[in-house]
């Protein structure tokens, strides 16, 4: 690869590819955390008994 004016476009495209993939990976991780929290809350409510109300 040789340095040239067009390389800025190449780098921009490369950055875009990884930004999109990282954003998606981050969304998967945050969904996993949210579901883990929800499952924990549900399990805790079930241990207390159903009288705590709808979850």
């Amino acid at each position: 690869m040789n340095p040239s004016a067009n390389n800025a476009y190449l780098y921009a495209a490369y950055v875009v590819v990884w930004v999109v993939h990282c954003v998606y990976a981050f969304s998967l991780a945050s969904r996993a955390r949210r579901m883990k929290r929800e499952a924990g809350e549900l399990a805790a409510s079930a241990r207390k008994g159903v009288s705590g109300g709808p979850y």
Binding site: M1, N2, S4, N6, N7, Y9, L10, A12, A13, Y14, V16, V17, V20, H21, Y24, A25, L28, R31, A32, M35, E38, A39, L42, S45, A46, V50, S51, G53, P54, Y55
Partner: protein
Amino acid sequence: MKILFKLLVVLTLLLLGYGFCQAMYIAPTEATMGDVQRIFYYHLPSAWVAFLLFFVNFLASVWYLVRRTIGADALALASAEVGVSFCTIVLITGPIWARPIWGIWWTWDARLTSTLVLWLIYVSYLVLRHYATGGQVPVLAAALGIFGFLDVPIVYMAIRWFRTQHPQPVIGGGQGSGLHPAMWHAVLWNLAAFAMLALVFVLIRYQQALQEYALEEAHAQASLDYETEGAQ
């Protein structure tokens, strides 16, 4: 199973690294366009992987309509979501490549327009899945996935059927078309790397979709128990 998945992730990262080396340093510089042509090694594999994922969505949607299994619906959702992220990359890297070569970011030719329509179809699929409520949502989404997939062959054939600003096919384009063998290596390594990355994402999202079903059921059961208790 977890060890196998970790191995898959490590293998994917290694492939992505090797694919990067192939694309940036090993593949020869294209004579006319120069280094900016290396965008091709991300643009084309991303498009093929997106098409593959939309095909998986199509098959899973058909399977869901026939059998009504949760697994088929979860696979349809996972493949559509990951497919949209790859299609987004195609739609952004294309204009970045077009600007220095064509002098414009975008033109409404058949290939570009049909790709944008494809992206919009699957974004609407995800919006439907996310915001609509009721038991018929997976059925409606499956129907949208099946008819939406009809745009994929149109996108693929657009440069063969119409005169377009987008270049005529380099791969499978008949006489005079083709790639330098070293360029082929870069394409195939990056295709393998992105396909593996897509597989990792789909597996994770598939598991999450199944967990979402289980959570919804648990919530519904808990609400039912509460109402039953209140009635007594």
